[in-house]
């Protein structure tokens, strides 16, 4: 990367804080982001599972949808996602994805009903395309506003609720996927009880000018350590959560990806608002007839990690590949290698032994249930 490109990288409101904490910064989705702090990926991962970790996710896109009639905004958004937006209650958030005309996934996102508007959080790498899609499909009836003057923090781990409750007691009452507006550290924060680690925790949208102060205030608690993108990835992998662009992409359908739980009944065949989103015909066909491949959890039987791109075979020698790994690493909490990937549906049953080709050798790997580490959500 040339120097010009590096100077073009964007910085989050926490950039100076990352530097002062000794973070190792890397380019990620156009931003200069902390991949790890001096603690290191392994200990950061373990700290998050044992106490609480603070993540800067300000690179993600924050978008507000408004219409004169809030129901109109919900109805309009349902033309882009296969989830029940109209039925999403005020103060609640749910997982969704944008589908394309072939039934593939163009991005995954969170949708929150905040009363008079909808609040969306989308992936950093996709945010420009997502916003363009929203504008093209929804304007002018619905205004699409990218929120660029707010940071986004995630506080994750079994101690997260106790730590955040010291700043506002109401967070203790919130359930998984609740979202509220709360004054925290002197600023209006949009707080949801959600995250990307499998642990209990919160995601906090905070005004840019207050973001670093809030982060410092949270880090001042002995239970909280700063956590980089490296541990964020191993945490979400152990939790069985998909990384867009790796485990799901424009070619993978929600059926193959095992994400149909996010399509509520009302949007499925026979539902009152069935279909009506891009690629719904293809997705409904797959729902009825199954699909060629499925996303599964994978536990290598040896100690060697099987990383993204490793080809999977049914036999130890010969034959064609029956699948591929889409995410794989060492799972610090599991204490061994973990992976996920796509395999032929006939071989997707739990316990099936396949062989992953690593450095020219086929090593046994077992199809396993996900998550690899139980979720700690407060439902």
């Amino acid at each position: 990367m040339s120097e010009d490109d590096e100077t073009a990288l964007k910085r989050t409101p926490l950039y100076d804080l990352h530097a002062s904490l000794g973070a190792k910064m890397v380019p990620f989705a156009g931003y200069e982001m902390p991949v790890q702090y001096p603690m290191g990926v392994l200990k950061e991962h373990q700290h998050t599972r044992a106490a609480a970790g603070l993540f800067d996710v300000s690179h993600m896109g924050q978008v507000v949808l408004r219409a004169r009639d809030p129901e109109a905004a919900k109805r309009a958004l349902e033309t882009l996602v296969p989830v029940d937006v109209l039925g999403l209650k005020e103060g609640r958030q749910r997982y969704a994805y944008f589908t394309n005309d072939h039934g593939g996934i163009d991005d995954d996102l969170m949708i929150a009903n905040r009363g008079d508007h909808l609040f969306l959080v989308v992936n950093a790498a996709c945010k420009e395309a997502d916003i363009a899609r929203l504008r093209a499909a929804l304007e002018p009836e619905v205004t699409v506003k990218e929120i660029t003057n707010r940071g986004l923090l995630a506080l994750q781990g079994p101690q997260a609720a106790a730590v955040l409750a010291e700043h506002h007691p109401e967070v203790a009452e919130m359930a998984f996927m609740d979202i509220r507006t709360l004054p925290i550290a002197g600023a209006e924060c949009w707080v949801s009880r959600s995250g990307y680690t499998g642990e209990d925790g919160f995601e906090i949208s905070v005004p840019e000018a207050a973001a670093a102060d809030l982060a410092r205030a949270l880090l001042a608690h002995e239970a909280v350590a700063p956590i980089g993108l490296g541990a964020r990835d191993s945490l979400r992998l152990e939790a069985g959560l998909c990384l867009y662009g790796h485990d799901i992409d424009t070619q993978t359908t929600p059926v193959a990806a095992g994400l149909t739980w996010a399509m509520q009944k009302v949007r499925r065949p026979g539902g009152a608002r069935a279909g009506g989103f891009p690629g719904w015909e293809a997705i409904f066909d797959e729902l009825a007839e199954s699909c060629a491949q499925k996303r599964v959890g994978l536990r290598p039987e040896g100690r060697a990690p099987m990383r993204e791109g490793v080809a999977l075979f049914a036999e130890e020698t010969g034959g064609e590949a029956v699948g591929r790994v889409t995410s794989g690493s060492f799972g610090p909490t599991v204490g061994g290698p973990v992976a996920m990937g796509y395999v032929s549906t006939a071989l997707a049953g739990e316990g099936t032994v396949l062989f992953g080709e690593v450095r020219g050798k086929r090593l046994p790997v077992r199809v396993a249930k996900m998550p690899f580490v139980p979720h700690g959500y407060k439902r």
Partner: protein, 119 residues
């Protein structure tokens, strides 16, 4: 002790050379989670890939820095790969190699030159 541009260190005792990775390399790799060692008795040529080392981030290789025969491997690393990060330039050596030609070590850097190299 000598250092290679691949961030390996070599320490000769007679014609047996102990090989590990530098503290700088261990830090750059991050937490090591997997080590695959060669078999004792393997004849190797300089630049053969003899060890696979994986950190939480990525896989990398350790190359044989000289020609010779692997005479001992540090099994403790395969059992507890995290040891690599604890003492990379001491107890966490990877293998010992019986050198065919010790003069192959002459091309490598001494500690001062290596420090300059890594800046």
């Amino acid at each position: 002790m000598k250092f290679t541009e691949e961030h390996e260190w070599l320490d000769a005792d007679g014609d047996v050379v102990t090989v590990g990775i530098s503290a700088h390399a261990a830090e750059q790799l991050g937490d090591v989670v997997f080590v695959e060692l060669p078999e004792v008795g393997t004849a190797v040529n300089k630049d053969d890939e003899v060890v696979v080392i994986e950190s939480v981030k990525a896989a990398s290789d350790i190359l044989a820095p000289i020609d010779g025969e692997i005479v001992e491997v540090n099994e403790a690393l395969a059992e507890d790969p995290g040891k690599v990060n604890e003492d990379p330039e001491g107890n966490s050596w990877f293998f010992r190699i019986k050198a065919e030609d010790l003069s192959q070590m002459d091309e490598y850097m001494d500690e001062a030159a290596y420090k300059d190299f890594i800046g």
